[in-house]
């Protein structure tokens, strides 16, 4: 066992940056509380000794109030050395945790991070005085630029046990107040425009238009630039360079046979079609690199910016009121937004929600109604042939399901969701280098995760087709697929592949020659009926088998009803435009009239509490 160094600190103080600077490992860095839920560990060599360095999830206290904090508190108990990372711009709040750590009697070093930002804000902290008062070494750093890190590394072996007695919370705050009074000086400065913007984004009159503008712009950038990149790649890379290679291969394989079907797929009118041929090297490669990747790059660029500048917690405040009506609160907006990239990290982020009820609600809603970027980019790519208004139908349907299902679940699930308590970080300028690192890391995660599943899915489908299993399933499920959803029987293979990867599954709709209505039904069913394999695994881990079974039942039911509804009404009774408006309108009416069960229950519990009865919240 290597001696263990644990990085402990409040959320959003730069532990992850420090960790990646010290170990060279990439970790996700964001400007909002609660990015690290499970810890990351790496190795650090000092002189001749090797240490295990652990990046604990951010915590405000060693008396945990959520999962991430539990992990942090238990990590502290196994540490040989604790490195307490402290945000120099907010010394007071950070020292509360420090005082608890000092009580643990474990060798410790305090890192005063973001000392540059503190200086900008007119905060001066005397490290030598702080060192004397805490009784442990103090090193000031700027983790992003690497300033002070060398000094930290040489100080680590000199970590000592501090001398605090065990205090009550009130005594701790008194101690903190005393220390801060002795070491910190604040020079008054005028408000910067960034600080003015901070206030503006929290006020309804300016905050709501700002939120709308931010979301609209993000959407525009992702779709617009993603589309450009996708078309550019197709025109200048795939057609002139890649197509000749697969053409050559196809000829060598004799244009038919087992290997040809598997690798190249079937020819469309005697030619290879990158989207439709359904071979590993044609559709497989093109879906990943030609369609999904361009949109994913844009999505993660925009998301990375929003995360690092600190806007997302403000969005959580603005949307809190509406989310409350669905039995969630504003913080749940963050996993929802992450879900538009990939549902896996979104489910992981949902772990930071306080109660089991909230986690179940958020995870179920998100895996049913939030399509990931991979899936969405396929839908965007394909829906064009039918007209953009069908895209509106797809989004309106998902929004409608999100609202109604949320309202229903809030009513059915026992208990209530306690309301929001969240720290709001200051705005910061995103750091270019860490933005780049984050983007590269996320894309490589996608490739590592998606490529085997996409290729696997295409292989599976080709094998099942060759073995004749698809025909059997098609006949067996025909009443549902044909009868209720109005899709051709062959669509059964699409749903099968959807268990593995949604993007390829959407691509498989193309050769079926669907009408606009059928395509919309297919897309909605694929988005909602079941999570992809990767999400399924993480979701089961999160909800447990029983919870997952419940969620799965909800998914199948929702999906079938939505699909049947659209099959019956789209283009027959309602035009796509009016259907979209109708669904959005209905959702808004429902949420205004019907919501707030959780709020009422919280109120009742509060009255009980004030009457002196015990309650958990």
């Amino acid at each position: 066992m290597l001696p263990k160094i644990v990085l402990v600190g409040n959320p959003n103080v730069g532990k992850s940056v420090l960790f990646s600077q010290l170990t060279g490992t990439r970790v996700v860095i964001s400007n909002y509380p609660g990015t690290t839920v499970e810890f990351t560990s790496g190795r650090l060599k000092i002189g001749r000794e090797v240490f295990e360095l652990v990046d604990a999830p951010g915590t405000y206290s060693l008396e945990p109030t959520c999962r991430a904090e539990e992990v942090a508190a238990s990590l502290v108990n196994t540490a040989d050395i604790v490195v307490n990372v402290v945000d120099a711009t907010n010394l007071e709040r950070n020292l509360y945790l420090t005082s608890q750590l000092l009580e643990k009697k474990v060798p410790m070093v305090v890192v005063l991070n973001m000392i540059d930002e503190a200086a900008q804000k007119g905060i001066e902290i005397s490290t030598s005085r702080l060192k004397k008062l805490l009784g442990v070494p103090v090193v000031s750093t700027v983790a992003l630029s690497g300033e002070g890190l060398k000094k930290l590394v040489v100080t680590l072996p000199h970590a000592v046990v501090g001398g605090n007695e065990i205090l009550s919370p009130d005594e701790r705050w008194a101690w903190v107040g005393n220390v801060v009074g002795k070491v910190q000086q604040i020079i008054h400065r005028h408000q910067t425009w960034l600080e003015a913007l901070e206030l503006a984004s929290l006020k309804p009159l300016t905050g709501i238009p700002l939120a709308a503008a931010v979301l609209f712009l993000s959407f525009k950038i992702i779709i617009g630039l993603g589309e450009m990149l996708h078309e550019g790649l197709e025109e200048y890379v795939f057609e002139p360079f890649y197509l000749p290679i697969v053409d050559f291969l196809s000829l060598r394989l004799g244009q038919e046979g087992f290997w040809h079907d598997l690798l190249i797929g079937t020819l469309v009118q005697g030619e290879i079609h990158l989207e439709e041929s359904m071979g590993v090297l044609t559709t497989g490669v093109f879906v990943v690199f030609g369609i999904v990747l361009p949109f994913l790059v844009m999505f993660y660029l925009v998301l990375g910016f929003l995360e690092d500048c600190g806007y997302l917690p403000r969005l959580a405040v603005i949307t809190d009121r509406m989310m409350h009506r669905l039995g969630l609160h504003g913080f749940a907006v963050i996993p929802m937004i992450l879900g538009f990239g990939c549902n896996v990290p979104a489910v992981m982020a949902a772990r930071n929600l306080e109660s089991r009820r909230e986690r179940f609600l958020a995870c179920t809603l998100l895996s049913i109604t939030v399509p990931c970027a991979a899936q969405m980019s396929m839908v965007f790519g394909l829906v064009g042939r039918y007209g953009g208004v069908y895209l509106a139908v797809i989004f309106a349907t998902l929004f409608f399901i999100w609202i109604t299902l949320g309202l229903l679940l809030d009513r059915i699930l026992p208990g209530y969701t306690p309301s929001l308590i969240m720290e709001i970080p200051p705005y910061r300028w995103p750091h270019l280098k860490s933005q780049g690192q984050k983007l590269v890391m996320r894309l490589s995660h996608f490739l590592a995760e998606a490529v085997p599943f996409i290729f696997g899915g295409i292989l599976l489908i080709n094998l099942l087709y060759i073995l004749g299993t698809t025909d059997f399933l098609a006949v067996f499920f025909a009443p549902v697929i044909k009868g209720l959803l109005g899709l051709p029987r062959e669509a059964v293979s699409t749903l099968l592949v959807g268990f593995l990867r949604k993007d390829v599954a959407v691509a498989m709709l193309i050769p079926l020659d669907l009408s606009a209505r059928q395509f919309v039904v297919g897309a909605i069913v694929l988005v909602t009926y079941f999570p992809c394999a990767a999400t399924f695994v993480i979701l089961t881990k999160e909800l447990g088998l029983k919870g997952m079974a419940a969620a799965a039942a909800i998914m199948v039911l929702t999906s079938l009803s939505a699909g049947t509804f659209l099959n019956l009404f789209l283009d027959t009774v309602f035009s796509p435009g009016s259907l979209a408006i109708l669904l959005i309108g209905l959702a808004i009416v429902f949420v205004t009239l019907g919501g707030g069960t959780s709020d009422r229950r919280e109120n009742a519990a509060e009255i009980k509490l004030l009457a002196g009865k015990k309650s958990d919240f």
């Binding site: 709040r93 509360y96 309804p204 720290e423 709001i424």
Partner: protein, 78 residues
Amino acid sequence: MRIVSLVEMKTGQAGIVKTINGGPGMVARLQALGLHPGKKVTKLNSIFPKGPVVVEAGRSRIALGYGRACRVFVEINQ
């Protein structure tokens, strides 16, 4: 001197936290974020009626949902 909840405070008004009427979980969470009895807080704003309240305590900004903001009481000069 008057005791009001965070919800009843006016935007821009400052006060000293007196009591937090909540279960141990809520008290511990606010405590750790720096919102504890004896602390001076300033209300920055509240979003919509019944929406969350944002307060500044020291250098931290904390958002509290309406239900919980109702249960934090502060003493104001008035």
